[in-house]
Amino acid sequence: MTLDSSASKKEARQGRGWLGILIVVGLIAFAAALGVTALLVNIFQRQQEARNPFMRVVEVTNETVDPAIWGMNFPMQYDQYKRTVDMERTRFGGSEALPHMPDADDPRDTVAGSKIERNPRLKRMWAGYSFAIDYREKRGHAYMLEDQSFTKRQQVQQYGNCMNCHASMFAVYNSLGNGDMQAGFEKVNTMTYQEARKLVEHPVSCLDCHDPDTMELRISRPAFKTGIRALKASQGIDDYDVDTMATRQEMRAFICAQCHVEYYFAPDESRRLTFPWYKGTRGDDIMAYYDEIGFTDWTQADTGAAMLKAQHPEFETWSQGTHAAAGVACADCHMPYMRKGALKISDHHVRSPMLNINNACQGCHRAPEEELRERVERIQDRSEEMVGQALDGLMEYIDSILAAKEAGVDEAILEEAYKCQRAATFLIDFVEAENSQGFHAPQESARILFRAMDYLRKGNVLLGRQTTAAALPEPKPAPAAEESVEDVEAAPELT
């Protein structure tokens, strides 16, 4: 009996042992089958993705302004597009979300950093102009309309032409002009800002860059068509039509160049937004054109000189650089190709390449990310140093003019001196306001700054400013260089 019961106990224990093994093996097989099936589905999904680039689920037309509708057909591009709300700094630019107390004039709870508070020399450079009131770091495309609507520059009456670049305008131009974009464009130019603002709802949207039927890139801003025709004419190409003559790769830059450029508003009643490329796109070419037509943006408050404001000549600067020469367009770095599953799309999260070095740079440059970042920042460091020195020179020059006026210098000489202030300011601004801190074309930016310094030098000579050695501050000898200075001084005694 006792033997029997212990045997049955043993059997029961053995039975439980087998059951444990069964459960463990079952669980392992369960997990493995789960994993393998998931892998199978993943492989299947990737293979399907590679077959179907996109699925058209809704009809989009030239009236479909809302990007969310296009997003149903192109969910991945739309997701990326929406990410332009991100606020992220690079070392030299971009936006940090700074808290802002909403008030009646400005309901925003975040704003970007103020460039004129950080660099008060800019405020003085633009004294008397609206940019001295409010000038901030740029945020992503998602904020283009909002930030424009609530900038304090609105204290000065602005016009409808601002909307050309701060809103989705394709459908608006078309409907106002009954299909004639140029006519619609002309109408918006003459509106007040408030009138034009009522016509728009979205910042740049899909139909501003893409044809809804073919998804081909297309030009949607009449000002660019006119501008590029003038530029090509200056290069000896007559009757250039961007719609039929531009290559796909050129379009990948021209699309951006509809807004990221230097521009002015015609001073007559048309107030037409115009790109000043009739003599070329370099800073001094543009200035020469402005001088020829006698254009002036504002009168500088300190000196009374007739001034020019440079806007943000990204396209012009890029076109002078090594990337443009190599056929690399804006989209190659700012909207680089990216992989989504098995699909390859261009990244619609338009941003600084410094936030995306692998996709933006490493497709061409086979160097480690850190090395590439250092290369870019080295260029930007030098540009910042040059711009800083040029601005210091400009501040001193404004003082020189004021001193000369005080001393009663001849009006004819002052007139010439104002021209130097105007030229130097425009050229410094041309580099400062450009969104790359000198990276788009380092040597061209340096050349422009050098020309600016040359205008300041000429102006100082005109005004008879003391520039002899006696007037210069004592040079500070560098610690390492002290010995060699002594050596040089000691040398004559030895001989």
């Binding site: 053995q14 087998w18 093994i21 199978l40 680089p336 599953g341 098995a342 692998n358 996709n359 490493q362």
Partner: protein, 159 residues
């Protein structure tokens, strides 16, 4: 009583064997199907099209077709060591890493070669061109000092 428990025990064993057989069979079946569906067998050979089974590699295959080495070398000639065990060890480890990376999506879009694979490639250059580079190496530039691809980056595939 003893007979009963004997019967119960053999019944349990039978059940377990049945279960193990079913579980193993199911897992084996799904596994084999997945392996075949993913063209698993092709990975054991040398055909360059195999590397483009994974769509991520398509551009590299396209570029190789246009490269100067197309007529003399396939992917494995440059990307695996020139001995049997080294070759299949590298194939296995890279196969594992690539599957993991491409399934999870955790890899940079512009693919970066890992240091160990770079050494394999450097060795492959020297396997064929050793006679020429000995004359460079004898000036004190060993395989560590000079990287063939730093200058000759277009020979295989420039994406």
């Amino acid at each position: 009583m003893a007979k009963d428990s004997q019967n119960g025990r053999s019944g349990l064993v039978l059940f377990i064997l049945l279960f193990l057989g079913t579980a193993g069979g199911l897992l084996g079946g799904v596994g084999c199907y997945t392996f075949l569906y993913a063209k698993g067998i092709s990975y054991l050979g040398d055909a360059p099209e195999t590397c483009a089974n994974c769509h991520v590699m398509q551009e590299y295959l396209d570029a190789w077709i246009k490269s100067s080495h197309k007529h003399v070398a396939v992917c494995n000639d440059c990307h695996t060591p020139h001995n049997f065990f080294g070759k299949y060890l590298v194939k296995a480890t890279n196969g594992f890493h690539h599957s993991l990376a491409f399934t999870t999506g955790w890899f940079p879009d512009n693919i970066q070669i890992r240091a160990s694979n770079q050494r394999v490639t450097e060795g492959a250059c020297r396997h064929c061109h050793g006679d020429i580079v000995t004359q460079i190496d004898c000036f004190g530039h060993g395989p560590q000092a000079l990287d063939c691809l730093r200058c000759h980056d277009t020979v295989g595939h420039l994406k």
